[in-house]
Symmetry: C2
Subunit: 323 residues, 2 copies
């Protein structure tokens, strides 16, 4: 049994706890929350502690699963925890990934711990596919598409607008762009060409809807660079049709080898983004425990971890079953 | 520069040589053929030697790329070469994979060499996907489909029938089976449900076509378990429309995590099967050289090799670029 600490108890932390509960591989040492632990109740009776106290559980924990929501929390927590724990996280700010990876590598090498950075589906499985595709077809074009699915960051950005009661934003890949990417012509696609942003918004009764729509579509970085469609709906429709957190995505590589065209395509279609992210995080928590026992230390990205670390230890049986 | 020996000079060996020639990463020590080397001419001026003499090149070779056609040749050669060379091969008899892997592991551990077994797309990339998918979604169903593409083994089987001048067999996945697999209902699919075998045959002028067709569709293992369609065409149409060796395939995993449905899909679409297989073999030849320098020995399947071994050595740069 792999003893895990769940650090943060939002959608991702809850999903990790449920996976641990349903699997025969894990034992949950505790949930570690930033909130007052007396106000947090585990879905499965796991003890809840303050994040401040986590270091006192270092000797009884194999892997700390970092499940906090915002990116800043992850980096600060990651570096703190890497001093005393093997960790897995799903840090997802692509632009800061390389710097965070180096900090984690330095910290974990000093402490003799093993820390996996960016374990989800993007970053995560999609990163692995991008690396693998580049290694196999060096002369080709890789394109990543996301959706159709809910972007939590974009949904939150809409909810912060005055007069908005609730909102969900769906990222939608454009068919024409997918077609071009599959033909190896993805390199010429602009941001606006690849994805549409579709928003479902519940507004306050007396809100100025035209003004809300204007604020959404002109929002820098989030919406301005995209074609954005805004639908105002009532609360009932919102609850019945937009409560889930589905997502999907594609990594496409298209190019030539010896003059012959090759297309590689990896795609996901997920009814629940947080539950699948948790599945990846927990699979790599198991891999972390396997490799830590084997003496590995430092930070690793998903590119550094062989698939066999996720599987049983009998290599010959794995060859028979999967190869 | 990675110094490679190309062992066997059919479609695969020629494709590997072309990749080596066009890449800045490889230097070709020689082509090693079973034929009389005087009768074999390299496409790129690489010296051609007899396979019998390969051991005298052991000190100047980093990796031997085993490119011989038939499965028996690969196992015998593999075990012989593992005594003196790091090797990569695309051994593809799934049923014997596990036994061959163990033999190669024992041999390579004794000799201190590093040997990669089963490097192509299936076995190879598809094996990696099957393992990865199992690790991430333990409760789900994996289905592999091949096609639409040319099966060389099935084409050869037809060509051995009396009265047949030439033949190509296309393996075609059935749409309904793909649909069921994507819904997680692939477990109930029978062999006949998944693939159709479509044959294009050039017969001798006075041949009994009905008898040829009967022999094809009733051939045990090759065709009898499948729905098979036979088209007789003339030599001109055969040459103009069936000279290429395209292939394709899918690995689908469909299941649930925490009650939420997840679909993972990996697919390839290839204008030339041997050229893409060579691309995978050469990518892993590079990985082999990288890991052998790092001191790794024994046999490895694609499950054991991290994607980073295919890429540049700057881990932090790889994180920035791919993660």
């Amino acid at each position: 049994m792999i003893k895990i600490a769940i650090v943060g108890y939002g959608n991702l932390g809850r999903a990790c706890e449920r996976i641990a509960h349903n699997s025969g591989d894990f034992e949950t040492v505790g949930i570690f929350t930033r909130r007052n632990p007396d106000t947090v109740k585990s879905d499965f009776g796991t003890p809840v502690y303050s994040q401040r106290d986590i270091e006192s559980f270092k000797d009884e924990t194999d892997v700390a699963c970092i499940c906090t929501g915002s990116a800043n929390d992850v980096t600060d927590l990651g570096i703190r925890l890497a001093k005393n724990f093997n960790t897995v996280d799903s840090f997802d700010t692509h632009a800061k990934m390389s710097a965070y990876f180096e900090q984690m590598d330095n910290t974990a090498k000093q402490s003799g711990k093993l820390c996996f950075v960016g374990m989800g589906w993007d970053p995560g499985l999609f990163s692995l596919m991008r690396g693998l595709c580049e290694g196999i077809l060096p002369f080709a074009d890789t394109q990543t598409f996301w959706g159709r699915g809910v972007s939590q960051g974009h949904s939150e950005a809409i909810r912060r607008i005055e007069g908005v009661v609730d909102a969900k934003q769906y990222t939608v890949p454009k068919d024409e762009a997918l077609r071009l990417a599959r033909e190896g012509k993805g390199g010429s696609l602009k941001v606006r060409d690849k994805h549409l942003r579709e928003c479902f918004v519940v507004a306050e009764e007396d809100a100025d809807k035209a003004e809300i729509e204007r604020k959404i579509v002109s929002m820098p970085d989030y919406f301005e660079p995209y074609d954005t469609v805004v639908h105002f709906i009532d609360e009932e429709e919102f609850k019945s049709r937009h409560s889930a957190m589905p997502h999907a995505g594609f990594v496409l590589r298209s190019g030539e080898i010896n003059g012959a065209r090759c297309n590689i395509e990896f795609s996901l279609k997920l009814d629940s983004n947080p539950d699948f992210t948790a599945a990846v995080l927990m699979a790599y928590a198991k891999a972390n425990a396997n490799l830590a026992i084997a003496g590995e230390t430092g930070a690793k990205s998903i590119l550094d971890i062989p698939a066999s670390a996720l599987l049983g230890k009998d290599r010959s049986a794995n060859v028979g079953k999967f190869v």
